[in-house]
């Protein structure tokens, strides 16, 4: 074991899978010569050359569509979207093409590709560069969605995503990039399965289900709530949004009797609403108090710092929601 950054973990997963599988290639803006705007693909051009690390013009619709085509032809493209918000300029290729291909061809074709990149708020990038997209993607069957919160999970989930036979969206929160964590030595081949949650903090009073950067915020909130109020949170890291590990969530709720689902995408019709609804459908008898979700208020993230802080479902808002539920 050693400590690495989140960025390094992703970079290693890309490199090792490219070494292992000739079919894997990278495509995106400024990923080769520059090494990625956030340096995630650093040094990969040197190692694998322009045949497998492809710098594109700013043509998301075109290169996303070409990745779909290359995947249909048997390769394993990994597409970087510089900001996840830009999925909207190539949405047809993702949702109408990649996600539906296997189904509408009666299983004759499949699209084994990964779309990865950073998302989320916290750095004042404003309305068009701060969205969190997991809830929208969850509306489309045929594409899987994962969002790790630690370097270990990032590497393990990315390897799983690359080896998956389906399109997988791999979400990296921009606030996670320089966080550090334990990683097995480079030669250890491990994966984290898609669709499996993990308890990141055991507790007895309330289950907080989340993923990605809000998980770190939730862990901090949990320590403060423990110290200040004696409230003991159990924190379930969903890790995958599609498929959703409801079994993991309900197993935890069986211990605590309370559920709060937290995410940075919209609260309204978001993945938290889905988790709450499924809890009521599948095991309402586990709940001692009404289950809740906490997401983004109906607005896009503004540049102005106090306004952005007001809206993000981070520590302050998480603590307030928990306190209300524990009243």
């Amino acid at each position: 074991m050693r400590k690495t950054t989140f960025i390094q973990a992703i970079n290693e997963a890309l490199r090792e899978e490219m070494q292992r599988d000739e079919r894997v290639f990278l495509i995106g803006e400024d990923i080769g010569h520059y090494g990625g705007l956030f340096r995630v693909t650093r040094n990969l051009l040197d190692e694998f050359g322009e045949r497998r690390v492809i710098d594109t013009p700013i043509s998301e619709q075109g290169f996303m569509g070409m990745a779909v085509g290359a995947a249909m032809a048997g390769l394993r493209p990994i597409v970087e979207l510089m900001y996840m918000d830009f999925y909207l300029v190539c949405a047809d290729q993702i949702f109408n093409q990649a996600a539906k291909m296997h189904y509408m061809t009666g299983g004759l074709l499949n699209v084994p590709m990964v779309i990865r990149g950073q998302q989320g708020g916290g750095k004042g990038y404003g309305s068009q560069h701060s969205s969190s997209v997991e809830s929208t993607f969850a509306q489309f069957p045929g594409i899987k969605v994962v969002a790790p919160s630690t370097p270990y999970d990032a590497k393990g989930l990315l390897v799983s995503a690359i080896r998956d036979e389906n399109p997988v969206l791999f979400l990296e929160h921009k606030m996670l990039y320089f966080t550090r964590g334990e990683l097995p030595d480079a030669e250890v081949d491990y994966t984290v399965p898609i669709g499996k949650s993990e308890v990141k903090r055991a507790g007895k009073d309330l289950t907080l289900a989340t993923f990605g950067y809000t998980l770190l915020q939730a862990l901090e909130a949990a320590e403060e709530l423990q110290a200040e109020q004696g409230i003991d949170l159990e924190i379930v890291d969903l890790r995958s949004i599609t498929p959703l590990d409801m079994e993991g969530v309900l197993t935890s709720v069986a211990r605590t009797g309370r559920l709060l689902a937290v995410h940075e995408s919209q609260s309204n019709a978001g993945i938290g609403a889905e988790i709450v609804a499924r809890t009521y459908e599948e095991a309402p008898y586990l709940l001692k108090a009404p289950a809740r979700r906490l997401g983004m208020a109906p607005a896009s993230l503004p540049v102005s710092k106090p306004l952005e802080e007001e809206l993000l479902p981070w520590k302050r808002n998480i603590k307030a929601a928990v306190l209300e539920m524990m009243k």
């Binding site: 803006e29 404003g126 560069h129 503004p302």
Partner: protein, 340 residues
């Protein structure tokens, strides 16, 4: 990775603008000079503020691009529509945006024109015809064509101009827009500020066509490549394009060759180009060019120094104003989602 010098790739101003319109009066050139210095100093101050951690997010300056903005502002009417990219401080200031409110917006302060919600990438002031800078590459271009369509439907004589980088030409929606704008003879000017890099990528690495204004020719559109750092040439070219547009002759595509002297955005490490390359461009940059023109016309160097000192004071007081300005009330986080 270094590109050939800017001058080498730009045809002379004479070749670009076949029939030169009236020569600008020295008075007018002086006011353009003042504006250019103002833009430069506002942006340099913003870079300082970003360096001291006062600005979050992504801030893109147009240092070196001022010729396009100031030439355009002199050539168009105040009510003409304008859209542009995240690199849009210069267009807005050239059209008369108050520098104090501009800096407030970048800092996310309440007196910003968008209450600090939009920030550096979303400059606008509809009262000045500034209909919005955009964070999505290419997105503002059909908007301008739509404003031109609106003018045509209403039957008024407003024109629309849109600014974009050469990198935007590889977005499909650009080409859809060019075709319709030309087919419908819309009063729109497509102004490409070709600074030869899209983010960290030199254009030679991504474009199938070396002279990018030729893309427009595929749609039968009038197109021209000019020295975008020469404010007189920009003025003349935009004025001619606007006259064509108002006369119902349709769109013009202008490729104004320029060079971005600062990073793609604040805190850009600029590993993709050399210091020599940047230095080489300094003698062609718009402020240097205009200063030489003015001195050549016999304007006293002292007068220019005095203008610069005036601007300096204005910019310093704008920065102070913005630093002391209040933050927006947190209740603003929830407003403006729908118009009520």
């Amino acid at each position: 990775m270094a590109e050939p010098s800017l001058k080498a790739s730009v045809p002379s101003a004479k070749a670009a603008v076949a029939e030169a319109t009236a020569v600008l009066a020295t008075e007018q050139l002086l006011s353009m000079y003042r504006k250019m210095v103002l833009i430069r100093r506002v942006e340099e101050s913003l870079l300082d503020l970003a360096g001291s951690g006062k600005i979050g997010g992504a801030m893109h300056t147009a240092i070196g691009h001022e010729g396009a903005a100031v030439g355009m502002a002199a050539a168009l009417r105040p009510q003409d529509y304008l859209t542009c990219t995240y690199r849009g401080h210069h267009h807005s200031l050239a059209r008369g945006m108050d520098p104090r409110r501009a800096i407030c917006e970048v800092l996310g302060k309440a007196p910003g024109f968008a209450k600090g919600k939009g920030g550096s990438m979303h400059f606008l002031d509809p009262s000045l015809g500034l209909m919005g800078a955009n964070g999505i590459v290419g997105a503002q271009v059909p908007h301008a064509a739509g404003m031109a369509l609106a003018a045509k439907i209403r039957g008024d004589d407003r024109v629309a101009i849109t600014f974009f980088g050469e990198g935007a030409l590889y977005q499909g929606l650009m080409h859809e827009t060019f075709n319709m704008a030309q087919k419908w003879k819309l009063p729109v000017i497509f102004y490409c500020e070709n600074n030869r890099y899209s983010e960290m990528t030199p254009i030679s690495r991504t474009s199938s066509v070396a002279e990018i204004h030729l893309f427009a020719r595929a749609y039968g559109m009038e197109s021209v490549q000019i020295d975008g750092n020469n404010v007189e040439v920009v003025y003349e070219t935009v004025a001619r394009a606007a006259a064509r547009a108002r006369a119902g002759e349709g769109p013009t595509f202008i490729e104004g060759v320029t060079y971005r002297l600062a990073g793609h955005m604040a805190n850009d490490l600029e590993t993709y180009r050399s210091a020599e390359e940047i230095d080489m461009q300094r003698s062609y940059e718009p402020l240097t060019q205009l200063q030489q023109t003015l001195l050549g016309r016999g304007v006293a160097a002292d007068l220019l120094a005095q203008l610069r000192a005036e601007v300096e004071q204005e910019v310093q007081s704008a920065v102070e104003f913005a630093l002391e300005a209040p933050w927006p009330d947190v209740a603003e986080a929830y407003t403006d989602v729908y118009k009520v």
